[in-house]
């Protein structure tokens, strides 16, 4: 513990995430969401006609769908005006589709990712890295050993050009159709950047692949799309990180993630999201899991003003399983509404959901979850565990689970607890010489340990560091 503590003190995380850069835009769309903007994006990307048509259909869905306003206790979205958002900014990077050498990037962008520690992580621990700046991926690289085995890791725009058949079949057709919700429709209309991962049958990618998303411009929206296809018996771990400096105007992040887990395949999707505290984070993430496949969602939700995000797993084949571990931290002015959705649509399917939340200084966390067990999903089991820790009386922590059980040969359990930070624990630690803040920090670290131990060490350290900063109240 002490060496971790020392390490944390040495790194100035505030400087790491909060720095701003001058905007560099080669192409910047108008504000708002119009057919012209959608056509501009598609044209600038030189997309095939079918993709433009899909975007336009999504735009139509977006225009016809109401804003979600009547969910019990949902975050306030009244400050979000999509007409004031700039949906597309292409930075002026020479090489389309991203450089494959950090040195080829303009100095200020390279500097951004250096400060975030991405190139260093790539050298040390990762199979490949994609880095997105504003709307476009500016760096993309995959280690050769994986390329030789047929693994594809590229940015989504490149995938549309180079792997058109796969993208055409899987992109927002089976997993997240634009009709799913208002923000999935928005995403379908103006999506840009993101990652495409394809792992052929039987291939195991031992080291994680990573994508990092950075929003730098005021009042922009980022709409990256991630499509992961893991063929039968394959295995891959994908990590995304995200950050943005804080501006006075709000930002919108509305990403889309689609994961196809083939028979007996195993996909882990890990996120540490630290959007600035004026960002609306309204994402749609979903996986379809075939027989014997396993999907794992690991997430830490730290930043953003309002988050509405409920990663979903559809257990389609016999014996499919999904595990989800998440932690949410809400400080002053934050409303983190997050949870999990699982559909058990086949026999012998299994899911576990472990959700932890911490609220402090008037922040609100909410676990909102849906477990659906379809008729015929015999011998399925699910367990949901939610724990909430609250620091003060200004904060709020809610739990709103929904369970729809249509089959009797199942095992369903839900548990939730809420408690304040234990006075006795704090007293014990203080009596051992720790000051109040350190004692609380230590209790929180222990509370979130089930999450951090699922993450690669760099991410676990980052998550701890972010939480420590939140605890000191020095961010935001």
């Amino acid at each position: 513990m002490s060496s971790d503590q020392d390490h944390l003190k040495e790194t100035d995380t505030e400087e790491r995430f909060e720095f701003k850069k001058e905007q560099r835009a080669a192409v910047k769309s108008d504000k708002g969401l119009t057919e012209e903007v959608v056509r501009l994006i598609s044209e600038d990307k030189d997309e095939p006609e079918w993709m433009l048509q899909r975007r336009l259909r999504a735009l139509e869905h977006y225009q016809n769908m109401p804003m979600p306003t009547d969910w019990p206790g949902q975050p306030d979205l009244s400050g979000l005006d999509v007409e004031e958002i700039v949906p597309y900014i292409r930075p002026d990077v020479d090489k389309r589709g991203g450089a494959d050498d950090w040195d080829d990037l303009p100095d200020d962008i390279k500097d951004t990712f250096d400060k975030l520690g991405i190139p260093e992580a790539e050298r040390n621990a990762l199979s490949g890295v994609g880095a997105q700046y504003e709307s476009e991926v500016v760096y993309q690289n995959m280690q050769e050993q994986w390329e030789e085995k047929g693994v594809i890791f590229c940015n989504m725009d490149e995938a549309v050009q180079e792997h058109e058949d796969l993208v055409r079949e899987y992109f927002m057709t089976k997993c997240v159709p634009p009709s799913d919700n208002k923000f999935a429709a928005l995403h379908g209309a103006v999506w840009s950047g993101g990652s495409f991962v394809y792992v052929p049958e039987g291939v195991t990618v031992q080291m994680p692949v990573q994508a990092y998303f950075r929003m730098n411009s005021e009042g922009m929206g980022q709409f990256e799309h991630t499509l992961i296809i893991a063929e039968e018996g394959s295995e891959v771990h994908y990590i995304e990180g995200c950050s943005a400096p804080k501006y006075s105007a709000f930002n919108l992040h509305s990403g889309g993630v689609e994961v196809f887990v083939g028979e007996d395949a195993h996909v882990q999707y890990s996120t540490v999201q630290n959007w600035s505290k004026n960002t609306y984070n309204l994402n749609t993430k979903r996986a379809i899991v075939e027989a014997g496949g396993r999907m794992e969602w690991v997430s830490g939700s730290m930043g953003s003003k309002s988050t509405m995000l409920y990663p979903c797993s559809i257990l389609k084949g016999r014996g499919a399983s999904a595990n989800q571990i998440s932690i949410a931290f809400a400080g002053e002015g934050q409303d983190i509404d997050t949870g999990a959705k699982v559909y058990h649509n086949a026999p012998n399917t299994n899911s576990t959901i472990e959700s932890k939340s911490i609220s402090k200084d008037g922040g609100r966390t909410n676990y909102r979850g849906l477990v659906h067990i379809s008729e015929g999903a015999v011998d399925s089991s699910t367990s949901v565990e939610c724990d909430a820790l609250m620091f003060d009386n200004e904060s709020t922590s809610d739990t709103m689970p929904y369970m729809e059980i249509n089959e009797n040969r199942v095992n369903v359990a839900h548990e939730a607890t809420v408690g304040k930070i234990g006075d006795e624990d704090v007293f014990y630690l203080q009596s051992r010489g720790l000051d109040d803040d350190d004692a609380k920090q230590m209790i929180v670290s222990g509370f979130i340990e089930p999450i951090t131990e699922e993450l690669p060490i760099e991410y676990a350290v980052e998550l701890n560091r972010l939480i420590e900063l939140e605890m000191e109240g020095s961010l935001g």
Binding site: F391, T399, M400, I405, T417, K420
Partner: protein, 402 residues
């Protein structure tokens, strides 16, 4: 969205009901205002998840149910010493000031379409009034519905340091066609008083029921509920406590047993509004055939509710793969000095238990019935009134069809 009001639901009808009961003007006014509001009120909230309302109340055809002028019932009231248990018209003669003070004070008559319909049209009512310091024995109210529709109203007022247990049963006599029963229960529990209110709903399965029971507890008062639901085709029932007073407490014990195509939408809700308040919500249900249950539990801890303890457990046992059990146990926590937890489980009769019993020579069907009966034991154990416990147990056994 609101429902078209039947043409016979007119001001004349309301005036006639009120006149028959010889009501004072203020009550007639309350009825007429509720009638007026109908066109603008929504149905009670039901749980919604994407693409789905968990209970569809709009599908009910109120026009074919509501016929207040033909309301008929058999009422039995047992009044132990020291307590007033009065029909509402007698209560208006003897304790008008109490009725006027508390009627509609706990449940706003215009809270939703169905409460307003009830307030405008109720023909049957009971006041239970317990004066200061009186420890009353069991109050019994038995309502047997003999008509197409019946609107029933119960008001319980307990003064300082009193106590009472109340057992209310709803039954129905055979009648052709679909029917509607509506019951509102308001309890105002005074300082340091103790109320246990038990309800056993066993109307026939052609009857749709809507009941809303809500209590407020003053300082150090206790409002305990037992809610047994056996009958009815569609039940929409909510049992709620406002813990307004410091150190107030509530315990809700719920049990339901559905078969055929019965639908139970049951809710247990508690609002912790003051310091040192305690709540315990326990519900167990069994579903057979194509029955469906919808459970919502809410524990709402307000900002000023320091040192709160709040617990909720819900367990459903499914005997058939055609049944459906939906649950949403919610925690809303605004004060960090809280110890709160909830849990919910759904499962079937334990195979190992069944195997154990059948291997000891108990026939399969009997073993299963014994396990179902055993499933309710933890809930029945919480019921303080012996008569209610025995009644509930008898209903469960009857349903198991030994």
């Amino acid at each position: 969205m609101s429902t078209q009001v039947h043409s016979t639901l007119s001001e004349e009808t309301v005036r006639e009901i009120s006149g028959d009961l010889d009501e004072p003007d203020w009550l007639l006014e309350t009825r007429l205002e509720a009638l007026d509001a109908l066109s603008e009120l929504d149905m009670p909230d039901v749980i919604r998840t994407p693409g789905r309302d968990w209970t569809n109340l709009d599908a009910l055809d109120y026009e074919s149910f509501v016929d207040p002028l033909s309301a008929a019932e058999e009422k039995e009231r047992v009044e132990p010493e020291g307590v007033s248990v009065l029909s509402l018209s007698d209560a208006l003669d003897e304790h008008e000031e109490i009725v006027e003070e508390y009627f509609g004070s706990v449940i706003d008559p215009q809270e939703n379409y169905l409460t307003a319909l009830s307030a405008a049209l109720f023909t049957s009512g009971t006041l239970v009034y317990v004066p200061e310091g009186v420890d009353a024995e069991d109050v019994t109210i038995r309502t047997t519905m003999q008509s197409q529709s019946l609107f029933n109203y119960t008001l319980v007022v307990t003064e300082k340091s009193s106590s009472v247990t109340i057992l209310e049963r709803q039954e129905s006599e055979e009648l052709d066609g679909e029917r509607y029963y509506s019951g509102l229960v308001e309890i105002a529990a005074g300082e340091n008083s103790h109320v246990q209110y038990g309800s056993l709903q066993d109307v026939d399965e052609e009857t749709y029921t809507y009941t809303l029971k809500r209590g407020t507890a003053a300082d150090h008062a206790t409002v305990n509920w037992v809610e047994g639901n056996i009958g009815s085709r569609l039940t929409k029932s909510s049992v709620e406590t406002m813990l307004d007073g410091e150190g107030s407490e509530t315990k809700t014990v719920g049990a339901f047993f559905g078969h055929d195509d019965q639908h139970f939408d049951v809710a247990a809700r508690v609002w912790h509004k003051n310091e040192h308040t305690t709540a315990d919500l326990v519900t167990r249900g069994v579903l057979d055939d194509e029955a469906r249950s919808v459970y919502e539990g809410v524990q709402d801890v307000g900002k000023e509710a320091w040192d709160t303890s709040s617990y909720q457990r819900e367990n459903t046992l499914m005997l058939s793969d055609r049944s459906e059990a939906d649950a949403s146990p919610k925690l809303i926590i605004n004060n960090h000095d809280t110890e709160a937890s909830h849990s919910a489980t759904v499962g079937q009769v334990d195979e190992e238990d069944l195997f154990y019993m059948t291997s000891r020579g108990v026939p399969d069907e009997l073993a299963k019935n014994m396990l179902v009966e055993g499933f309710f034991v933890p809930v029945l154990d919480e019921v303080e009134v012996e008569e209610l416990r025995e009644d509930l147990d008898a209903k469960i056994v009857e349903r198991l069809d030994y």
